[in-house]
Symmetry: C2
DNA sequence: AATTTTTACTGAACACGTTCAAAAAAAGTT
DNA sequence: AACTTTTTTTGAACGTGTTCAGTAAAAATT
């Protein structure tokens, strides 16, 4: 069995091809119709494959979403990494990276809600704290590590260490807002990004003040405990 | 039709009785078996009623959860209000109210995950920003209004106005943690409450400092915009 | 080359949430 | 009391996600 016994590993070139075919069919339908309206039967039909075969490669409908998540993260990464070369300030980097995230996700807005729907369920393999989604989550946080790493802002070491995780959480919050955002061209979300990035920048400066050291230490210790806990769970 | 055309209003004493019977059967089963393992058919059977009849009173399985949410909130309120009489400090009140919330929810820990599962889905009538759940949400926030209202801490007016909503969000975060908490007697959650309440108290003092006024104003304006948005949506 | 073992694939079956037309019961009306 | 309207209740039906025993094909082994 695999990590959680759901998705079988592919052993054959033919199999790899079929698996990709199913995933592409699924993403097409999800983009067009959203989650509920995209049935496993429709996915299999579009891929020219039997229903059972789809389940051979993807243990459940949710596992297809995990594959989607992995793919869009790759797209986002490809778009965001060049930005880290050009921009050096934390603020400018954050602004670009978040805007790119939203534009990458945009084609899937209709069905993205389901991501968070299951994300909060402890029994779902999709929830961000679950063992199954650890690799994708780690990849996702790594982008924010790179973002923070070589920025020349004066940030105390303790805060700098936790900042990637905190920014990742913040970026999840932005996505949650975007999911509920039905304004034209997602204008509200982009405005929220502008405002919160600006505010965050100020708050980081504030927290970096030596006078803040005791409170900062306390808060960061709490954050690190919370962060570690996810890995320790079943 | 009702608020969203889902739950029919009851017109008869007999109907009221049947509705209560179904809800009680549902809550019993949910407590014993959790959400997935509790089928609508089992609920109907336990209530001695046909499947279709269950759907006559509760438009969907999720609507039963909304009823659960309403009921446990009532229990929590009954336990928490006396505390506001005895305790006067914000810190002590918060500590008690949160601990009571967790102990009220405890019997339903197994299935509470589904609360958050659907809570983040924009299409679900259960999501906290949805129109359907507005009454329960408002009731829930009201408790924190009472909690803040007559406390004698020196808190600036702008912060005091938003504090109930912020504390409600915070309390949702605590519940989210509790859902994932599998430690004995939920020790981790109680520890988290202790630590975060302590920290929150310090942060409120900090934010009340006149020097913080500009940043505070900015942050609170953002929060109030976010809060209003929920009501404006479809 | 024949045989065994592993992988890819099929389609029928299951239990579930949900819907709906229609029957039974109750309440309201004349 | 007879009739109409409304509410309650039923049970069959639909489409869904998922499972599984079994078949076809490919790879590994002899």
């Amino acid at each position: 069995m695999n990590s959680a016994g759901k998705t079988k590993s592919t052993r054959t070139a033919k199999g790899e091809q079929t698996k990709a075919l199913i995933l592409n069919s699924a993403l097409d339908l999800l983009r067009e119709r959203g989650y509920e309206e995209t049935t496993m039967r429709a996915i299999a039909r579009k891929a020219g494959v039997s229903l059972g075969n789809a389940y051979h490669y993807f243990g459940s409908k949710e596992h297809l979403i995990q594959a989607f998540y992995h793919r869009t993260h790759g797209e986002h990464l490809a778009a965001a990494l060049p930005v880290l070369q050009k921009e050096t300030s934390l603020k400018a980097r954050l602004l670009s990276v978040l805007r790119l995230k939203i534009s990458t996700l945009e084609p899937y807005h209709e069905f993205a809600g389901v991501l968070f729907k299951t994300a909060a369920d402890p029994h779902s393999p999709l929830n961000p704290f679950a063992h199954d989604s650890a690799p994708t989550r780690h990849d996702s946080i790594k982008l924010f590590e790179d973002l923070v790493a070589d920025t020349k802002a004066r940030i105390p070491g303790d805060l700098r260490a936790e900042l990637p995780y905190l920014l990742w959480l913040y970026h999840m919050g932005i996505i949650l807002f975007w999911i509920h955002d039905s304004s034209p061209k997602r204008a509200r979300t982009y405005r929220l990004i502008d405002q919160t990035v600006d505010l965050l920048d100020k708050l980081i400066s504030l927290a970096s003040n030596p006078l803040m050291r005791p409170v900062r230490k306390r808060a960061l210790k709490l954050v690190s405990e919370l962060r570690d806990m996810g890995l320790a769970e079943a």
